[in-house]
């Protein structure tokens, strides 16, 4: 065997230790870190995520504990001092709740609801999309018509109907969000799975008689990930926004678990009387979160563009 020529080998031997040796994931992460806009997004989202996670440690007050609230501190301007001497950094709402604490806790709820609902919708939607593309024929036609019907209704309308039937609560709103979102994932994954399943490496896998399950999850799915990741990031932002909208309308989360949307809604009636902070600070937080996620999503879309892959 040693006599076999190896001249073809030397032509393209990669330099050890350089980036060419890395997995696609590692390459994507490195590209993200080099992108200034993406980095801004990561920092914004990272800070907000940490603040939300550590809320019980950072927040000066537990906004859910009614015993800690003092109605006499209601509607204090940012920076003012309470009777007991604590400083309300971002002011208080009408019930004397510290807004800074309320935002931290609200962020927690918003992000939790957004990520969990997006994750569930992703798993359901991606599976349906993969099955649809791989099975083809009638299965594909039926599944995709359901997706069409689903997408022809405004998301907010479907969510409203579901919440009207189910009632309020974190679990209920997650269900409503999953129902409105899965179709986007299904359509995205089906599109790229159709393209991938026509490529020769899938023929190669079939000619080796690999089981269908393995072909779908080990060969097709990993190659559909780039568009899926982009859609997922954008959809997390959208889910958070939708939840805020529903809460703002008063049919999302209960008043005992205020999310950012509910906080904005709480301050809404005082806007004209000059107590801007009750609505504006939760609003800015929501804006930062959405912009941050979208910045990451945009950069991911550029980085994961197949035309850029070498």
């Amino acid at each position: 065997m040693s006599t076999r020529q190896k001249d073809a080998v030397s032509v393209h031997t990669a330099v050890p230790g350089t980036s060419v040796h890395a997995s696609p994931l590692a390459r994507t992460l490195r590209a993200l870190a080099c992108d200034r806009l993406a980095l801004t997004g990561i920092i914004i989202v990272g800070v907000l995520l940490f603040a939300a996670l550590l809320a019980p440690l950072i927040a000066p007050q537990n906004p859910y504990d009614l015993a800690q609230l003092d109605i006499m501190d209601g509607r204090l301007a940012p920076g003012s001092e309470s009777m007991t001497g604590t400083v309300y950094l971002l002011g208080t709402d009408d019930q004397g709740r510290d807004l800074f604490s309320a935002i931290l806790y609200g962020l927690r709820t918003s992000i939790f609801v957004g990520i969990i609902s997006a994750a569930i919708a992703l798993v359901i939607g991606a599976s349906i999309g993969l099955v649809s593309a791989y099975a083809g024929g009638r299965t594909d036609a039926v599944l995709m018509r359901i997706v069409d019907i689903q997408l022809s209704f405004p998301a907010i309308l479907i969510a409203l109907i579901f919440l009207a039937v189910l009632g309020q609560g974190v679990d209920k709103i997650i269900i409503a969000l999953v129902v409105t979102q899965w179709a986007y994932y299904a359509r995205t994954v089906r599109g790229s799975a159709l393209v991938e399943s026509k490529r020769a490496y899938i023929d190669a896998a079939r000619s080796m008689a690999l089981p269908d399950r393995r072909i779908i999850f080990r060969h097709i799915l990993p190659n559909c990930l780039p568009p899926l990741i982009v859609v997922a990031t954008m959809r997390v932002a959208y889910a958070i926004m939708l939840e805020a909208t529903l809460s703002f309308l008063g049919i999302g989360l209960p008043v005992t678990e205020p999310s950012l949307g509910l906080l904005i809604s709480n301050g809404f009636e005082y806007m004209l009387s000059g107590d801007y902070w009750i609505s504006v600070f939760p609003g800015i937080t929501l804006l930062l979160l959405i912009v941050g996620i979208n910045l990451i999503g945009d950069s991911l879309r550029d980085i994961l563009n197949p035309r850029r892959e070498g």
Binding site: A14, V20, H21, A204, S207, A209, R218, P222, N223
Partner: protein, 604 residues
């Protein structure tokens, strides 16, 4: 030579990559005389297309060129870009590789030609239409006037390339740049287009700059030849001297890797390619192949009356209005250690035959037996067993490996998925397989994008070997590779056949490669085998008209054997038939032992 029409000296073109200028071609110099055909030849990455694009200044903002490009006494590089417009299309015409995409699909052919005439030559609509008809006549498109109102989709690939040439000729250019104009075409169509370019050159008094990777085409068409290698011109000389007495080792290495049709006369067995050292230009002695064919016992692959048809459906009710008769009543056998080649042009059903055999495509009728087991009747588990015996290698090594799987995993996957080996055993086997195909075992951790085309094809071969198959279906497996890499991969396939006694079903459109590698050959046309037999019999004594036509069309990489040959102007016909079409039963005539020829239905 008279004073040159185009004179390039010291041309260097750089591209901006990651913020840095990198030179892609360096210090290119050559001249083209009036009425001369100059070929620029090189493998992929040699910079031949960049040279053409630099002349036309079509490279865009992330590229820059310096040096001199003198065209009719004017330096094109110092010309303001606006003035290039008067040169492009007007005085230099250009045709590209892909005839399917270089015409606008939503505009009528006539409008696409008259547009150029009205823009560049200031003709009014009526004069332009008359001129367009004249041009289509000139490129030998039958009933030109009637075809003006048709869209590109109504034209075949060869006809489209004629239209593209007509557009390039519209302004009577002094120089025609042809960038791989025949690479995407079938060999009989390629012969027609080459013939056309030669005729037009004489009629129009043009010079031609012909860019190609195909030494056969070079020998066929060019007066002088420039050989490029990785951005440098390594040799410029008359075509006769390049082929007869090349000075540079690279040129010699390139030429020795080019299979020449007819060079195998008198050779009973397949032959390895001589591998020439790129530095010294010395060819290593060729080890003759052993006789690998096992003639006694049952054949490893047996195909009887295979038929594969694809229904064409229309309307809401999806009624079958016709069928593509991709494979029609095909029968053959392959023995262990034997290579049977299926050869033919695009659409002849050779790939569908290969896919039907391992049931990647469902056959309509017929039987296929692999190692005595019937493929068509196999259950799902039975099919798993059969696919272990028969593996496939695909055409495009960039497409047939999962880009997100390390190659070690990819090779180990079939063994693990079939429960044949545990992870540690599989890893050792992967290392052994990589060695066997001439790669290093340490490469197992890399991803496909880190390999060159030839290396990837070696990986695909290693993966196909993982299950210890007895027969391998190689579907155009070397067609996408550069000549020198192609020669190495074919040598590897011959080595493996000797070591493992593999049977190959080698599917290819390339007659010269087929002649080199096969024991037996089957020529396919419109889904049917028109001629089958031992390689020597088919190549040295072709009986069917189509086989002869196919062989006559292959360009020979030897300018001294340039033929004044009869080029048939036939189009390749379509295998589409009406739904109620009953194909006639074909009869075969035995010429000599095992050499069968289809009896022409009309003649019989």
């Amino acid at each position: 030579m008279t004073s040159p029409i185009l004179s390039i000296s010291g041309l260097t073109t750089e591209f901006k990559v990651d913020g840095q200028w990198r030179d892609v071609i360096r210090d290119i110099s050559f001249d083209i005389g009036a009425r001369e055909t100059l070929a620029v030849v090189g493998e992929s990455g040699s910079g031949k297309s960049v040279t053409a694009m630099s002349i036309m200044r079509l490279l865009g903002a992330n590229a820059r060129s310096h040096g001199r490009i003198d065209f009719e006494g004017q330096d094109l590089l110092s010309l303001p870009l606006e003035n290039m417009q008067a040169v492009r299309g007007n005085r230099i015409g250009m045709i590209f590789q892909e005839p399917m995409t270089s015409l606008n699909p939503v505009l009528k052919i006539g409008d696409q030609i008259t547009e150029v005439l009205m823009q560049h030559r200031g003709l009014d609509h009526r004069a332009a239409t008359a001129e367009a008809i004249r041009l289509l006549d000139k490129v030998r498109i039958p009933s030109a006037a009637a075809r003006l109102n048709e869209y590109p989709m109504n034209f075949s690939g060869g006809m489209r390339q004629r239209v593209v040439i007509a557009i390039a000729l519209a302004c009577e250019p002094k120089l025609l740049i042809a960038d791989e104009p025949t690479t995407a075409l079938d060999v009989t169509i390629q012969a027609q287009i080459l013939e056309l370019i030669k005729t037009l050159q004489e009629e129009e008094d043009m010079s031609v700059l012909f860019i190609t990777h195909d030494m056969g085409v070079v020998a066929e068409i060019s007066d002088r030849t420039v050989v490029m290698y990785r951005g440098d011109v390594v040799e410029t000389d008359t075509t006769e001297r390049i082929f007869g007495n090349a000075a540079h080792p690279y040129t010699r290495a390139l030429l020795s890797a080019v299979p020449q049709l007819g060079s195998m006369a008198g050779e009973p067995r397949p032959l390895r390619f001589p591998i020439v050292d790129m530095e010294t230009g010395e060819a290593a002695p060729v080890k003759p192949t052993a006789d690998t064919v096992r003639r006694n016992g049952e054949p490893i692959l047996k195909v009887d009356n295979l038929v594969t048809r694809f229904p064409v459906r229309k309307g809401i009710l999806r009624r079958t209005v016709g069928r593509i008769h991709a494979v029609e009543d095909v029968s053959f056998e392959v023995r262990a250690g034997e290579t049977l080649s299926l050869v033919g042009e695009s659409g002849c059903g050779k790939s569908t035959t290969g896919r039907s055999i391992i049931r990647l495509t469902e056959m309509t009728s017929g039987t296929v037996e692999i190692d005595g087991r019937n493929v068509g009747e196999a259950s799902k588990t039975g099919l798993v067993e059969i696919r272990r015996e028969a593996q496939m290698i695909f055409q495009d090594p960039f497409e047939s490996l999962n880009p997100r799987m390390r190659i070690g995993q990819a090779i180990a996957e079939p063994m693990i998925a079939h429960g044949l080996a545990h992870a540690t055993v599989a890893r050792e086997r992967v290392a052994a397989l990589l060695e066997q195909v001439g790669l290093s075992p340490v490469m197992a951790d890399r991803f496909p994008h880190e390999f060159s085309g030839g290396q990837r094809q070696r990986i695909c071969i290693a993966r196909a070997l993982a299950l210890d198959p007895k027969v391998i279906v190689a579907d155009e497996s070397v067609s996408a590779l550069d000549v020198s890499i192609k020669a190495q991969v074919i040598n590897l396939m011959l080595d493996l056949q000797e070591e493992l006694g593999l049977g190959y079903l080698f599917i290819s459109h390339d007659m010269a490669v087929v002649e080199r590698i096969s024991h037996r050959v089957a020529v396919m046309y419109l889904g049917e085998i028109v001629e089958i037999g031992p390689r020597q019999a088919v190549f040295e004594n072709p009986q069917h008209d189509y086989t002869r036509k196919l062989m006559a069309a292959v360009p020979i990489a030897d300018p001294t054997r340039r033929r004044t040959r009869q080029i048939s102007s036939d189009e390749i016909r379509s295998p589409y038939r009406a739904a109620d079409y009953q194909p006639p039963k074909r009869l075969y005539r035995e010429i000599s032992d095992g050499h069968l020829v289809q009896i022409d239905a009309e003649a019989a």
